[in-house]
Each structure stands twice: as C-alpha cells, then as structure tokens.
C-alpha cells in the first residue's frame, strides 16, 4: 500500500534558505544543500525547493543549488519559482530535479503545462496552486479563487475548475497552497484540500498551515491529501521527521518508516 508522503519545503533566495512571514521579511535560516541532505537522512520522502530570488541572476544560483543537491540526496525533489519556459524546465531537470513546479506562468499561459508534459512526461510537471477563500459566485462556484504574485492578485479563476483543467492538460501532481492558512500554524485548509483531492485523479500535496503533527494527520484523513508539505515545524526543530512519522504511524496512517541501513 502506498505511503503518505512528508515533504519539507525550502524557500531559497540568492542560494540561501529563508523563511519569510507572509512574504514580508526574510530571514536566512541555512544552506539549502546541507538542509536537504539533513532532511534526506532524517527520512523525508521528497523535498520541494522554491526559488524566491528577486534578482536577474536567479537562474544560475538556483541551478547550482540543484546540481549540488542532486549529488547528495537520492530521493525525488522538485523545484519551482519563476519557471516560465520549456527551457527553464529542461535546465532544472537536467541539473538533477525530478519535477518542476509551475504556478503563475501556468495561469498566464496554460500551454506550459501541456508542452512540459509532452516534452518531459506528466510525472515531471507539478501544478502549484495558491488559493484564497472568497464568496461563492457564478464565476467562482467553489468559493475558492486562484491568486498569483504571492497572493496579491486575484485571477477570477475558480480553483476547482483550474485544477481539473490542469489535470487534463497533463499536470502530474498538484501542490495545493492555501494562502489563508499559510504561515498561521493553525492547520491546513480542510475544506479546500479534499475538494480538490477528491475531484482530480492525480496526487495532491497539501500545503500551508502545518503547526503540529495533528494538522498533518488531518490533512491525510479529513483532507484526503496524498502528501503534506511542511516548513517551519521542521526548519525550527519543533519536530523531527521521525517524530512526525512515528506519531502518524501510531494513529494508523501508513508512512515510510525505515530509510537508513
């Protein structure tokens, strides 16, 4: 039986891992390659990197990080942030990532999904979704709207409709981030997550809001998520991945529990 996946997420700016609070100040919390190796050794099932570098030298710095991570860790990892073209995708995949994640660019130009899937295979294409709860309306029947530019711009696109469309275009997986929950440490968004997960046939990674192991448990059970993205709770050492997995296991969730030899 398939295990639920625990996925640490590292925001990388200028080659350093940072943690911003709701996109305001950013604090340098470590070297992404060392952190990736640490999480790999600690039993992470995958790693997600988001490149949030603002400068125009961004590609080279991040690509160098990807190369170095690929030499050290032997689990899948994905890279997102500013991926706009097939060439961007190719460069990241060739540098050693398993998957690339597209978010804003996919909304502006959905062909990036289909062309990426065609060139590299759906399993390499993750759709990142930033979502906000809104009033239901004819335009947004699900009550969840897609936002871009770090949550600052409303797109007028219904999140459920977008998830389905992206799946039909060839997205292999969805990383579903609730802007409302993100950074709150009060738990994942448990109405949004099952809504998407039960209406697509591709895996859904819950993202945004994890503050405790109980939240992760809920994401897998009530949330129907296949994987959970975590950040602060491991970056600041609140829990280790082993503690998280031990408790999930004790509560009946199937997780990968051995990884060393």
């Amino acid at each position: 039986m398939l295990s639920k996946r625990i996925i640490p997420c590292l925001d990388v700016r200028d080659g350093k891992t940072t943690k911003g609070i709701k996109f305001k100040e950013n604090v340098d919390i470590g070297d992404p390659v060392e952190m990736a190796r640490f999480y790999y050794e600690q039993g992470a099932d995958e790693i997600v990197f988001y490149d949030i570098t603002a400068s125009s030298d961004r590609r080279n710095i991040m690509i160098d990080v990807v190369h170095r991570v690929a030499e050290e860790i032997f689990i899948p990892f994905s890279v997102g942030g500013g991926i706009r073209t097939i060439e961007d995708m190719r460069e990241v995949l060739l540098a050693g990532a398993e998957k690339v994640s597209v978010n804003t660019e996919a909304i502006i130009n959905s062909k990036i999904i289909s062309e990426g899937a065609k060139a590299f295979g759906s399993q390499c294409i993750v759709l990142g979704m930033d979502v906000k709860k809104v009033e239901t309306s004819k335009k947004i029947p699900s009550g969840y709207e897609m936002v871009i530019h770090g949550g600052r711009t409303y797109t007028g696109i219904d999140a459920l409709a977008w998830a389905r469309e992206a799946e039909s275009l060839g997205a292999g997986e969805i990383c579903l981030n609730s802007i409302d929950a993100d950074g709150t440490k009060k738990g994942y968004e448990l109405s949004l997550t099952p809504l998407i997960s039960e209406n697509v046939n591709i895996p859904v990674i819950a993202s945004g809001g994890a503050g405790s192991i109980a939240h992760i448990y809920d994401a897998f059970t009530k949330g129907k998520a296949d994987a959970a993205l975590i950040a602060s709770i491991v970056h600041y050492g609140t829990y280790t991945i082993k503690e998280i997995k031990d408790e999930l296991h004790a509560r009946g969730v199937k997780v990968r529990r051995t990884w060393g030899l």
Partner: protein, 210 residues
C-alpha cells in the same frame, strides 16, 4: 566499466550520480559496441514504451541488449527498463524485446484499495516490496523497506519463476522480475534512498548468476 544505456529516455544522470556516490565508474552510451564490451549494463527509462523501443532500434540496441543477455552480461532494468524487456506492452501496443516472456499491462481503472478507497493512477510515491524469492542483488533488503514508484503500467511475466518481488497497489503486481543474468525493478532504485543504493551496489558486484 558499467554502461548506462542512453536512448533519450531520461533519468540517466540520476543513475550516474548514484553510481558516482557508490564509487563505481560508468559511461552513458548508445554505442552498441561499447555496450557489448561493458562488464555490466544498466537499462533505465522514463517515458512511453512505443518511443523507447523505436529509439532503441534506431541505435541497434535492441539487438545489442539481446546479445548481451545471451552472453551472460549482468543487466539491470529500471522502471520503463523493467517493462520493455517483456514481449509486448499495452502502452502504444508495442512489441518489446522479449527477453522475458509476458506482457506489460495498464493498471485497471477504477482501482480500489482493500478499504475501498479509490486509488489514483499513476502509482506514485513510496511503497513496499514483498520478496517472493531470494536474489543476490536484493541482499540486505528488509520487508519494511520502501521504494519510490511512478508508473501507470506494470510488468506481468508469463511464468511465476520470473517474479522476484511484488507490490500491493489495489492489485498485487510484480515489481521485481528477473531471468538468469537479467534483473529488473519497476521502482526507481536511484531515488529510493539508502535501500535503493544498497540494491544498486549489490548489482555492481553481481556476477550474473543466481
């Protein structure tokens, strides 16, 4: 020298990096002579069966692999490389290499777990392997070890003797198969952490005999 077959089907560098980490020299190549002269062969692959077979034929590697198999060279197939060694694949209705009898099948849809939960396709993520029989390449692998899978098709060998390990995903499907000096796994051992690297290391010192 270990040859990693390059037939434009992705994930070669991951295997190369894993071998480098383990301290084994390798060469990524599609040159048939080079493949035939290597001491062992790794046959990875991601993508679709139809195109993969066409590309292999283009380089004459279909014949090359068949010859290497006959000559007793240890061969390791990974993911798509565990499928196109069979006779036929349902994917693109492809005639494959036929090194092991049997077909490659699509997971049935809809697919349900024992608790009646709808299972998504592709099979993507970490899952366990039940070892049906012992094999030198799997030495040190424990029942609780899990491996990283991502696939929609699975190998179905024609005889039980070719099945080395199975995995449960709605159905119990063969996830490790083998015949003589050929062993192949549906999961990505180069992406499965230390247990995967252990299998890779075992392969690199395997003499091809069982």
């Amino acid at each position: 020298m270990i040859a990693i077959i390059d037939y434009k089907a992705g994930n070669l560098r991951s295997v190369e990096r894993a071998l480098k980490k383990l301290g084994f020299a390798c060469r990524i190549t599609h040159d048939r002579e080079e493949v035939l002269n290597s001491e062992r062969i790794i046959f990875p692959g991601v993508g679709a069966a139809g195109k993969a077979i066409a590309d292999l034929r283009h380089f004459g590697l279909d014949k090359g692999l068949t010859q290497a198999f006959k000559e007793g060279t240890p061969i390791l197939g990974i993911c798509l490389g565990a499928q196109i060694i069979l006779e036929k694949s349902e994917e693109n209705n492809t005639q494959c290499l036929g090194l092991i009898g049997g077909d490659v099948k699509l997971f049935p849809s809809p697919l349900f777990s024992v608790d009646n939960e709808r299972l998504k396709i592709p099979h993507m993520g970490w899952n366990g392997v039940h070892l049906v029989r012992m094999h030198p390449v799997l030495e040190g692998i424990r029942p609780q070890d899990e491996f990283y899978f991502v696939h929609s098709y699975y190998p179905m060998p024609a005889a039980d003797q070719y099945i080395i390990g199975t995995t449960d995903y709605g159905i119990e499907f063969p996830s490790i198969i083998g015949h003589k000096n050929l062993i192949a796994m549906q999961f990505h051992l180069e992406k499965s952490g230390p247990p995967g690297l252990r299998i890779l290391k075992n392969f690199c010192t395997w003499n091809g005999k069982i």
